[in-house]
């Protein structure tokens, strides 16, 4: 550069400078920095919303395990759920999230009717019992891979993948996993529950059809999340999904959520 020559020192020049100095003494910055990097499109990322067109329900147990599906569950005023509905909901769930997935505030407070999933729902138990499908010797590998049993992204690798059209050698094992997991969960539940027709070991959340979720609504000005209600739970699970699988699986709404998380990360 060359430092720009001082502007013509017109009559007002010194006075304007004095005025600025007084502002400086009052704490006004003398240098402004322009922030331009990707502000605009990224801001529009914050505006994103997604629509859940058909009714979507979420079942959460005391450990924070969660099932997402479209089945219904009868609920008493006390909040107890019909056990057989619960079993069938779990069986037909589209997604199963492992223990710890649903944040505390979404879980049932207590569980007096026996919790049928406690036994095998803890941390990594659900991984190690199975043969490692790919022959990896790291048993631990299966822990992380485990939750995908109900999130069949490898069935649909490539955009043409139709349900059930398993594209590669991994998917077979994913499928086995899925069935193994479910069979076990169900059997156990039946055994434990015996005759009890109602259970308070779960909470049931419903999202009606055509619900629009704008993740940014759950975001406070300082970037922390304040999730509540069924939609908040949905976002929490989407976040969990994102943590594990990234954006590949197409969990509904995930791109929108990711765009916001990216915004927070890259702004």
């Amino acid at each position: 550069m060359v430092v720009a020559k001082l502007q013509e020192k017109d009559k007002g020049f010194l006075e304007r400078r004095r005025h600025l100095l007084r502002l400086g003494a009052a704490g006004v910055p003398m240098v402004l920095t322009l922030k331009a990097s990707a502000t605009e499109p990224v801001h529009s990322a914050l505006d994103c919303a997604f629509v859940i067109p058909s009714a979507t329900n979420i079942l959460v147990d005391v450990d924070g395990k969660a099932w997402i599906g479209d089945g219904d569950i009868q609920e008493k005023n006390s909040g107890e759920l019909k056990t057989s509905d619960v079993t069938s909901f779990k069986q037909n769930a589209e997604f199963v999230f492992p223990s710890g997935s649903a944040p505390d505030q979404f879980r049932p407070d207590e569980c007096s009717t026996g919790d049928d999933d406690d036994y095998w729902g803890n941390d990594c138990g659900w991984g190690n019992d199975y043969d490692e499908p790919t022959g990896d010797n790291d048993d631990q590998g299966s822990c992380q891979a485990d939750p995908d049993r109900n999130t069949p992204w490898f069935e649909e690798e490539g955009e043409d993948g139709e349900p059930g059209n398993r594209g590669n050698s991994y998917s077979g094992s994913g499928n086995d996993y899925q069935h193994g997991g479910k069979g076990k969960g169900k059997g156990k539940g039946d055994d434990d529950d015996g005759g009890s027709a109602w259970t308070d070991c779960y909470k049931f959340y419903q999202i009606s059809s055509n619900t629009t979720i704008s993740p940014a609504d759950y975001l406070s000005g300082n970037g922390s999340w304040n999730l509540s209600g069924a939609n908040g739970l949905y976002l929490a699970l989407a976040g969990k999904y994102l943590d594990t699988y990234g954006n590949d699986g197409g969990f509904p709404g995930i791109s929108c959520l990711l765009s916001i998380l990216n915004y927070l990360e890259y702004q």
């Binding site: 322009l34 331009a36 990707a38 499109p41 629509v51 859940i52 067109p53 197409g250 509904p252 765009s259």
Partner: protein
């Protein structure tokens, strides 16, 4: 490779090229490879972009690749969503499948905003006549697109509805004409003055309300390789019932707002700084407030007449 108009390609060729991801749309400074299997998106494209230039032949070197598709799992789970995938980290919003055209348009905008670093991009509409260009800065609810579409009917050519694309070497504005996106009430306003056949079907229930697109004009495509020198920068403010008003803006304020609206100014660095400063040396900037389209046109025409040719 040769250029043909999209409308010259038989529908089955368009369909095949789109499904193979080899429909190379050559528009303004960019070549975009489009890929979709969605019939709604294809229909929108063949209608709104019918006069656009398509590169035909072997494989092209493209600036952007954009795939508009149903997200994998969604197809199975919620069957009615669609997503634009520009092939980089920035994810698009999944939308119900009937909103595919919106997805396409947003995806194309994202490509330019986030992957193009040769020209400085500012969020603004641009129109021009032989005198030079008018930059209409984007402000939420400011009415940029409505005003842009209205000026198109007043004999101005459309450079872009979404981006002021500033050439770093010449500090001239480049054209990237695309269908003008109209929201809510402005859809009917534009249908009235541009003719209903110039406006696409209304997409309802988008995250931004109703959206429709004003068709690309052949004349704007034919002049798309002509740059324009900016002469006037407007910051529109629409206020229901407001009396029309004009306020001259400090160029420094205008510069600040433009930089804040740029997705790539920071990335380009010094050439963008020089180009922007050079552009601003030759312009005046105004904030205009208005309550209806007639008022906004009147204000702009007055300001434009005062600008030297």
């Amino acid at each position: 490779m040769k250029n043909v108009a999209l409308s010259d390609l038989p529908p089955e060729t368009v369909k095949r090229l789109l499904s193979e991801g080899r429909l190379y749309l050559h528009l303004g400074p960019y070549v975009t490879a489009l890929s979709t299997k969605d019939a709604g998106v294809r229909e929108f494209l063949t209608d709104m972009y019918q006069d656009c230039s398509i590169l035909v032949g072997e494989e092209a070197l493209v600036d952007f690749s954009l795939e508009v598709r149903a997200p994998n799992l969604v197809r199975r789970y919620i069957r009615r969503q669609i997503v634009a995938d520009p092939g980089f980290y920035f994810p698009a919003v999944p939308l119900p499948v009937k909103l595919g055209p919106l997805c396409l348009e947003m995806g194309m905008n994202l490509c330019v905003a986030l992957q193009s670093f040769r020209q400085a991009i500012f969020h603004a509409g641009v129109v021009s006549d032989q005198k030079g260009g008018i930059v209409i800065a984007a402000r939420s609810g400011g009415g940029k697109s409505t005003l842009t579409a209205a000026l198109m009917e007043e004999g101005f050519r459309l450079l872009s509805d979404e981006f002021a694309i500033l050439c770093a070497e010449t500090s001239f504005l480049l054209a990237y004409p695309r269908p003008v996106s109209l929201k809510n009430q402005s859809i009917d306003v534009v249908r009235v003055f541009a003719g209903a056949d110039q406006v696409s079907d209304r997409l309802t229930g988008t995250p931004k309300g109703d959206i429709a697109y004003r068709r690309l004009r052949k004349s704007d495509l034919e002049t798309a390789n002509l740059p324009a020198k900016a002469k006037l920068i407007l910051f529109p403010r629409f206020q229901a019932e407001a009396a029309p008003a004009v306020e001259k803006m400090d160029i420094a304020d205008a510069a600040m707002q433009l930089i804040a609206s740029s997705p790539n100014y920071q990335v380009i660095g010094e050439p963008a700084f020089h180009a922007l400063m050079q552009m601003l040396d030759g312009v005046e900037a105004y904030e205009i407030t208005y309550g209806n389209t007639e008022d906004s046109l009147m204000l702009v025409k007055d300001l434009w007449e005062a600008v030297d040719g």
